[in-house]
Subunit: 800 residues, 2 copies
């Protein structure tokens, strides 16, 4: 994933206005529709609607998704090998219920024809709605105003709703509104050479039932191979001038409500569309049918205004514990709220389903979840919306039997979670950067540790966390071994950096495995009943402690840095000087063997260890290691900039941290990787929060103490962030000179401010920011320095 071609960023400028609580497009950019469909996606973690235009066309990618509703497809291998998964799972575009077509005196409303006098779309991050306002003159000269407001309910999980209003402007017009459910929409072709895309499946849904009666329309389908069943239903509340006709009809793949009336100038037709979705892998056709009809009834009972009020209430509560205020960089202010909003949308109501890498905003990566959910997304949810973090880990726990079965298939103990999946089965087609990336298992354990530390949720620890930590520890004990010198080695695995693979003693992996093993030993002692249930005896727990204590962390004495993995620093440097801008992302232009054998880093790996396992390094090591890897890291992955931001801030490179923070935060608003069309980069967006809170706030937690070390870059004058920790709600206000810690709710807590203990109760604590001797600026590979924040600040002039 490459930073932007010039055109994408500068071309004719960003699509969105810079505003603190909204993302606004004030003229329609048809060329940017694929991107804006992702940015304007609405989701509650269960149901996701891309920001497609109400009338369906033109579109980039039409998209309606249900979390974990997938089709199975064969995974072909050029050469057979033991343990390769034979099939994969692909998210599918389910029945589209957001379609509302409009005829104006027999001319279909289509933004490509006639004259678009005004077109504005606004994502409101406090209201949780997408509003569209249009004034359009048909080719025949009739002008209408259209206002649509769309929402996916965060309170009523099965529900989405649209308020669609048409007004005649100058002359009387005959209006027909067709509100539809459409299954098996035609999808655009995908580029098969891009591994980040999706395998789009043609007509994945088979109709089992369709129904249209006086008040509602319903389509019920199932998938061919995965044998999942889904239903979508709609009902409408309509107001407008008489005479009006309303007709419902249905066929296998189309349900339609047709409303016809005539509007005098100034008259309005208003259609309130309530949409309900349900799916199941087990329940019968009538059960799924009834579930959807019931959800629809509940939503109509709540009503449009009621749904809006619930939505705002849900979001208010979220922002109270999550909002971040950034003064001095308006673009970043907007970006971090957009990021938090989208992270919430991805995880809010997933409820024992996975959080896909794109949320429910697009079909990229086949709709799979990866390690980035636990590593980058859950930390944000843990401190802002902890229930969602618990739910996501409960989903992992639900798939634990599959992970244990996979471990057995691989000849390993414990659990081997899938590198990429929808329902828990391994779906990775390239094992060196898939199954071999075992660190995912420690990442899951780490997410458990962090969540329990942040919430003291011992019920979760007993019911969910224990099994996850124990079974992943067993994996590590089986994967590693003591060599003849007594050192504990983990050989032949892949770390986070995908430009290396199948290496020995990846530092990040070994440190994370060490924590996993230590925590398992501790839990076994703490919960002897559970330990007995899993057959953990004293010998096994001791073997975990022994392995952790002997864990090999390679260090290159000659140059005084940690090699990312054993031997890494002996490899040939990548020839950055002779690598052209067009050669990035390198994976699209160089073979893996060439990337693997050289010192070139796709994404933070050793630097991620500096962040997540900071206690294993001295401050001086951190500075040296960061500078060393800075010169090798090309950021061909969107999962890198946030970690570089956090560690840059820690080692005192505050402006550099600010630059990296900009990149991770603006990844989708500025389409920095050129593939926002396929869906949002949820983990990179989560990095907007991490870059500010863990970066400039210096927050570290999860391994004993809650620590802060706030320090701002020149471009930010004031930073305020909130977080939830052990029943407390905390606000931290940072300026260049001082930091104020305030308890907004809760009984108080202890924290460290730049290493100094602070006990926080009802009285805020205000403490100075210690001086910093500015370190030397590191060098990035030619052409790979982050976009400087002056770009963002240029953005400021376009504001308000």
């Amino acid at each position: 994933m490459t930073p932007p071609p010039e055109s994408a960023l500068d071309g004719d400028g960003p699509v969105f206005l810079v505003e603190p609580w909204t993302v606004r497009e004030n003229e329609l950019r048809i060329d940017r529709l694929p991107q804006t469909e992702s940015v304007f996606a609405l989701s509650n973690g269960h149901l996701g609607l891309r920001g497609n235009l109400d009338e369906g066309e033109p579109h980039g990618i039409p998209g309606t998704y249900l979390n974990s509703f997938f089709e199975q497809r064969p995974l072909p291998h050029a050469e057979a090998a033991y343990g390769n998964p034979e099939s994969s799972q692909t998210v599918i575009n389910v029945t589209n219920g957001k379609l509302i077509r409009l005829l104006v005196d027999d001319e279909p409303f289509d933004v490509r024809y006639g004259r678009l006098k005004h077109h504005e779309r606004v994502l409101d991050m406090r209201a949780g709605t997408l509003t569209r306002q249009v004034e359009w003159t048909s080719p025949a000269g009739r002008t209408v105003r259209i206002t649509s407001v769309r929402m996916v309910s965060l309170r009523q999980r099965a529900i989405a709703a649209i308020r669609y209003e048409v007004e005649a402007v100058d002359e009387p017009v005959r209006i027909v509104v067709q509100s539809e459910l459409v299954a098996n929409e035609e999808l655009p072709e995908q580029d098969a050479s891009d591994p980040r895309g999706t395998a789009s499946l043609r007509s994945p849904l088979l109709c089992e039932e369709h129904m249209a009666n006086g008040s509602k329309v319903l389509l019920l389908h199932r998938t061919r191979a995965s044998n999942l069943r889904m239903a979508a239903g709609m009902a409408h509340t309509i107001t407008g001038p008489d005479p009006m006709s309303v007709e419902n009809e249905s066929s296998q793949d189309v349900g339609r409500t047709t409303i016809a009336t005539r509007l005098e100038p100034g008259e309005k037709l208003c259609v309130m569309k309530f949409l309900a979705y349900g799916w199941s892998s087990q329940r019968s056709r009538p059960a799924v049918h009834d579930q959807v009809v019931a959800a629809l009834a509940a939503a109509r009972q709540t009503g449009w205004e009621g749904l809006l009020a619930e939505q705002r209430d849900y979001l208010d509560e979220f922002w109270r514990g999550a909002d971040v205020e950034v003064e001095g960089d308006a673009e970043l202010q907007q970006a971090v709220r957009f990021a938090l909003f989208q992270v919430l949308q991805a995880g809010a109501r997933a409820e024992r389903r996975m959080i896909p890498s794109k949320g429910l905003s697009g079909p990229g990566y086949d709709g799979h979840t990866f390690w980035d959910a636990e590593t980058f997304v859950l930390p944000v949810l843990t401190y802002t919306h902890p229930d969602a973090a618990a739910d996501a880990l409960a989903w992992r726990h639900m798939t634990l039997p599959l992970a244990c079965e996979r471990a057995r298939q691989l000849g390993l103990a414990g659990a081997a979670f899938p590198w990429r999946t929808i329902r828990g089965q391994e779906c990775s087609g390239y094992w060196p950067a898939g199954t071999a990336a075992f660190h995912l298992n420690a990442d899951i354990a780490d997410a458990v540790i962090r969540y329990v530390d942040a919430t003291e949720d011992t019920r979760f620890e007993r019911e969910i966390g224990f099994d996850l930590v124990i079974q992943t520890a067993r994996l590590w004990r089986g994967l590693g071994h003591h060599d003849v010198g007594g050192v504990y080695r983990i050989d032949g695995v892949t770390g986070p950096d995908e430009y290396s693979a199948v290496v020995d003693n990846n530092v990040y992996t070994n440190l994370m495995a060490r924590r996993n093993l230590q925590e398992a030993a501790r839990l076994a002692m703490e919960y002897p009943d559970l330990a007995e249930g899993l057959g953990v005896d004293a010998e096994e727990a001791a073997s975990w402690r022994d392995a952790a204590a002997a864990m090999f962390i390679p260090y290159d004495e000659r140059i005084g840095v940690h090699p990312q993995a054993e031997n890494f620093t002996n490899h040939a440097p990548w020839d950055f000087a002779n690598t052209a801008e067009a050669d990035y992302p390198l994976l699209m232009n160089f073979p893996y063997f060439d990337l693997y054998r050289r010192q070139v880093v796709k994404q933070a790996d050793l630097v991620l260890a500096l962040h997540l396992c900071g206690d294993a390094f001295t401050a001086e090591q951190k500075a040296r290691d960061f500078a060393y890897y800075e010169a090798l890291t090309v950021r061909d992955s969107s999962l890198s900039a946030q970690t570089q931001a956090v560690v840059a801030a820690e080692v005192g490179l505050l402006d550099l941290a600010h630059d990296y923070l900009g990149e991770t935060s603006l990844v989708d608003l500025h389409d920095l990787y050129g593939n926002t069309r396929d869906g949002l980069h949820i983990a990179a967006l989560a990095g907007a929060w991490s870059g500010l809170v863990a970066g400039f706030g210096g927050m570290r937690a999860g391994t004993g103490s809650l620590r802060f070390a706030p320090r701002l870059p020149g471009g930010i004058s004031r930073l305020v962030f909130r977080l939830r920790y052990r029943g407390n709600r905390l606000r931290v206000t940072v300026t260049h000179d001082s930091v104020k810690y305030e308890l907004l709710e809760g009984s108080g807590l202890k924290l460290l401010h730049h290493g100094e203990p602070v006990t926080l109760g009802d009285t805020p604590a205000e403490l100075p920011v210690p001086d910093l001797a500015p370190p030397q600026e590191p060098v990035q590979p030619a052409g790979r320095a982050p976009l400087a924040r002056r770009v963002a600040q240029r953005g400021d002039t376009r504001q308000d």
Copy 2:
């Protein structure tokens, strides 16, 4: 590829009688047909006929092959990646011309029906023929004797011929012989989970022309995707009693000559079938047609007896320079001649085509050639039939532009030859054990060095060898680099052992690359005109010498052995004690990542370095290294036993060497890997010669001097081998006590006998075998010791 299940070897005993110059099956074993079809395959390197029964059915795999006649097929990848080949090449079963069906009083002759009173097949390795004698009584009680003799001409490359004779025994019979050409035969399904198999293609041939006239029948087809054109023609000479009717007919996929007559008891019908094949990727339909018709005319002019005489003459000349006599182990005597015969058949008339890993005996491995041609097959041909070695290298030279293009695609200099291919394009679907196995390039250079040393063929060196050595040296110079300590490293490549992959500083690879670089520097100095032509300047040649001189050869001081690659000896040992017999071959039952991270060796790798780069090791290192790897080597590849035999002999483990020699020699006669059905293991068969000559003869050459160090195991009382070297023909006779060197042709040469210089002229030299202090027996992994030669000696009792 696993050593045999008990049943395959012992079940109901070997299929073949043990005889010195023939392979004889004296009763038909229908269950063994797939194996015997491969063992009885006839080929001249251009055209190959599996030993299918004349009447076509029953069969294991029907097979008729033309070297390099292939179809293209897409190569699917579960995840796209830069540099992966998108398509592969698969050998196809071309028009079957060996079919001769027989009707006896309207009953089709089929060995599964009626009564088979006698059935014998004999492969005669001096005559170059396959003879079949049958006495069969039809279900209706009519008895006939059938004698067929089949040959594929070693002199007339396009030609095969069959003499088919039917005799009535007791009663008069009506006889119909249908001699056919059949295209697009139906093939059995292949097991897709076995990577050693083939992708069989349905109906790969499209008819462009079919013809039947008075004297001949011809079918001309082309392939769909690879767009190759081929023709097969036949003509007959028939003798038998009148009245006889002969009719020719043809349709798109069938050409048929039908001969009908009536035989009184004792009367015979004799059909001489002449078959001609031709193909081209460029020539027109009429040109290919005419080429086949012309070849047919020439063969008929030579006549059946003439073809037989040419064949014997060709083979007499071959055996004069190649025969090996083994006293004391009759099974091995037969096996080594069978092996040499099949190696000759694979390479004899390939003439600027590749030598496939199965020769032209079956469809295994898609008919591809691999590194084993240069590493194991060419050494045998170099010293026994050097023109064939030159031809195979000339084919590599022909594909050099493709290899240079592939190198450029991979971002490398020089040439990167394909890991597996038919026509020169990379066809490997799994790069870690394909493209990354760059040692193939040094193996090709080494084959050049060896050939030129053995022949002093300077014209070849200028026209073929120079380019191959220079372009492969360039590859190495680009693949490796000097680290900060000045050591030259080659990181991230795969050595011969396929249970490791993408490792740093594989000892075999680095040593072979060193030789490649040194030789390139020498050639650049020797041929300044050619060097200039390729743009080699003094700086480039110096950089080759520098890299060679600084080449890193890792050594583990702690345990005093060479790690196969850097870090290998730190890896966890494989748990052999808990690996069941049924778990082998490991690759079918364990994932690659598990094999890669452990100390387990599929096939000789460091031990191959001990053989081919022996000068880089002291005698003591050889003994220690051999013992170390002996305990780790499971021989899941048929490419291992011969190397273990050679090095076991060198370190004085003569009985062990004898055991390994037995395994490589009997690989197909005893179907030791259970997949002889897919074709012969040509490289393993070549090892029969290498094991005897390089093993017990101690022959080393190619890097300066011609050396012998003969020493026999207890089970062999006398060994005689012949070889060609620099225009001389040499015979070496070894007993337990002494060695006699004789010059049979040529002007004389210098050699070393156990390190002592000998100048050999007209007078034979007879020298004693020095005493040997027997080394300690090494240990193999549980259950993986080689089959002891007592099995073979039990075979002796079946002899005479």
